[in-house]
């Protein structure tokens, strides 16, 4: 999803790929990405989490944490 949003090759998107480092992933790109993730996973991040994750891996962590909450 990160690769698609920023139009970079998927190999560039490691868990360490991050805001400011990946081409296109700036503060506005970040908003687009978070919107895309919300749509894909049909979830809604709380306001204080939108600017939380700065790396691809951290977005996955956040998603996992939110899904655990849902499953309880």
């Amino acid at each position: 999803m990160v690769a698609r949003t920023f139009k970079v090759s998927p190999e560039m998107v490691t868990p360490e790929a991050s805001l400011g480092q990946l081409p296109g992933w700036d503060s506005f790109g970040h908003l687009t990405l978070m919107m895309e993730v919300e749509r894909e996973f049909a979830i809604r991040f709380p306001t204080d989490k939108i600017n939380g994750p700065k790396k691809a891996g951290e977005i996955c962590d956040l998603l996992r944490a939110m899904q655990t909450v849902d499953n309880r």
Partner: protein, 565 residues
């Protein structure tokens, strides 16, 4: 299709940056590149006013100004305790905004400026009371929109973006996502951004002149309800007070397209005499034979018929949109003639009128006299083709037409049509240079550019302005450079292009020019113009083709009467 990217500027009172990326991605798939200048949020007044701003330096072709009413009327006095002050302050800010719009339009006269109208995005509380104050945000927005509409009618290069309609498919609550507003000053939510991006794409496509030219229609269950061959003409579902009215309403919308320059054609598997008499005589038909530029009513495959229609109208297959209720027919067309745009038609005919009205392929920023007459002119072309088939020889036919060509130096009133021809003409176009109205305006202001137009008419009808030439002259060396020379595909095959060139050359010679230079730039679509220059006495020179103007006059076919004004 234009090779250089469209330069666009987005000026906004809130964060709107993601929309630029969405628009670029969508347009790339259509082969249209755009380059964005996005203002830092809420810096639009400085960018518009300052002499040396990045905006003025960029000279964008398209400027979008998106100011939210919540931002413009931020922190107004209370509607309850300071009603008078609130109203006065709101009016002052709106007037300032309008004069800013005028300033922007005046400083970038050759750019197209699109201004968002005002739509309160944040749902208001206490609806009953708010209405009573007379100065609620909603009421102020309504007044502001009125003023904006009036104001814009005085600025020819400004158009309004009607947000209410742009967002019509979305629930109001989805427009704004407060989370993104509070973290990033972004007033629109994801769905609203996408709807807006879709609308911007339409604006930019219209600006670039990328509109489709012809809607091809099936008959049974598309243009009317029922199957003519089985139900008979008296039992078609068409008009009246019931569901048949949907088909009639759709026909009215198609008539609107016809009257604004989109061609209509028929492609149907049907019995031709029966179908023709229904089109001609059914009392509830809105569209009649004289609305269709071409008709293929037979038992051939639709793909073959579409190719024939394209050949008959002399248009590329990519100019066509095909509407048919049958998915298997549509699938076949998509597979065999993929250049034709074949959208899904809604399952339910009640949805046809809205669907057809919202087809995104025919947007234009304005219509010209030629647009309003185009449908009629193609129908006249159909008559000419019939006449050609019944004449003894091609030359007999051409002599019998009494073709008259009027070539004249043109001024700014011809610019809309000139821009349109330069954007739409592919086949007989020596250089395929594309110009927007603003570009042409700027050229015409230079003393050394001349525009020529060619109008054609014959005994069947008036074809309007069908040729355009742009010439750059150098008085010092008595040399003219033919920058653009094009003739509409509608009139090709009659020698009109030769008469036009002869007219242009004769006027240039009368103005003291001795030599004309010209180029042929292959575009992949203009091979029919390849031999045009050598065939008219041009010699290959170091930079293209060259011909003296003072030698013998250029010849044109004897069946054309040429007038130069």
């Amino acid at each position: 299709m234009s090779a250089k990217p469209l330069s666009c500027a987005l000026l906004s009172s809130f964060t709107l940056d993601p929309v630029a990326g969405l628009v670029s991605t969508r347009l790339e798939s259509l082969g249209l590149a755009c380059q964005w200048f996005v203002s830092p949020f809420n810096q639009y007044p400085q960018l518009i006013v300052a002499d040396n701003s990045q905006l003025m330096a960029a000279q964008p072709q398209v400027v979008i100004l998106a100011v939210a009413i919540e931002d413009l009327l931020e922190k107004l006095p209370s509607p309850w305790t300071n009603t008078v002050e609130r109203k006065a302050e709101a009016e002052r800010r709106i007037a300032d905004f309008l004069s800013l719009v005028r300033r922007l339009a005046g400083r970038l006269p050759s750019s197209a400026v699109f201004v968002h109208d005002f739509l309160p995005l944040v749902p208001q509380g206490n609806l009953i009371l708010a209405g009573q104050s007379g100065v609620s945000l909603r009421q102020l927005a309504l007044e502001a929109n009125d003023l904006l509409e009036k104001h814009v009618s005085g600025c020819p290069n400004v158009r309004v973006v009607p947000l209410n309609e742009v967002f019509s498919a979305l629930p109001h609550a989805a427009l704004c996502d407060p989370r993104f507003y509070y973290v990033a000053k972004m007033r629109l939510g994801r769905q609203a951004l996408e709807a807006l991006a879709e609308h911007y794409c339409r604006l930019l496509r219209a600006f670039a002149g990328l509109r489709k030219k012809c809607i091809v229609l099936d008959l049974d269950n598309t243009l009317w309800g029922g199957i003519l061959g089985e139900d008979g003409p008296d039992h078609l579902l068409l008009g009246g007070d019931g569901p048949g009215k949907a088909f009639q309403d759709m026909q009215r919308i198609l008539l609107d397209y016809f009257e604004t320059g989109t061609l209509l054609a028929i492609c149907s598997k049907n019995d031709e005499p029966l179908a023709m008499s229904a089109i001609r005589e059914h009392p509830e038909m809105v569209l009649r034979p004289n609305h269709f530029a071409a008709m293929r009513i037979n038992w051939q495959s639709k793909a073959a018929n579409l190719r024939e229609i394209a050949a008959e109208l002399n248009l590329g297959l990519d100019s066509f949109v095909f509407l048919d209720d049958s998915e298997s027919e549509r699938e076949e067309v998509r597979r065999l003639v993929p250049a034709v745009t074949t959208p899904y038609l809604p399952e339910d005919p009640s949805d046809y009128p809205t669907f057809v009205a919202q087809l995104p392929y025919f947007d234009t920023l304005g219509t010209t006299e030629d647009d309003r007459r185009r449908g009629q002119m193609y129908v006249e072309d159909r008559e000419r083709r019939i006449l050609a088939q019944t004449s003894d020889s091609l030359e007999d036919f051409l002599r019998g037409l009494n073709i008259q060509v009027l070539v004249r130096r043109s001024d700014s009133q011809f610019i809309p049509r000139l821009a349109q021809l330069s954007q739409r003409t592919n086949q007989f176009n020596l250089t395929s240079r594309r110009y927007a109205e603003g570009d042409l305006m700027a050229l015409l202001e230079k003393q050394n550019w001349r525009f020529y137009s060619a109008m054609a008419s014959d005994r069947i009808g008036d074809s309007g302005m069908i040729g355009a030439a742009l010439v750059q002259v150098d008085i010092g060396t008595a040399t003219a450079r033919l920058d653009t020379f094009l003739v509409s595909c509608r009139v090709l095959g009659r020698g009109i292009e030769s008469a036009f060139l002869a007219g242009v050359c004769s006027d240039l010679r009368a103005n003291g020019l001795a030599t004309i230079l010209a180029e042929y730039i292959p575009s992949g679509k203009n091979s029919m113009a390849r031999e045009f220059l050598p065939n008219h006495g041009f010699q290959l020179a170091e930079l293209g083709w060259r011909r003296p103007l003072d030698s013998e006059q250029m010849a044109w076919p004897a069946w054309i009467q040429l007038k130069i004004a």
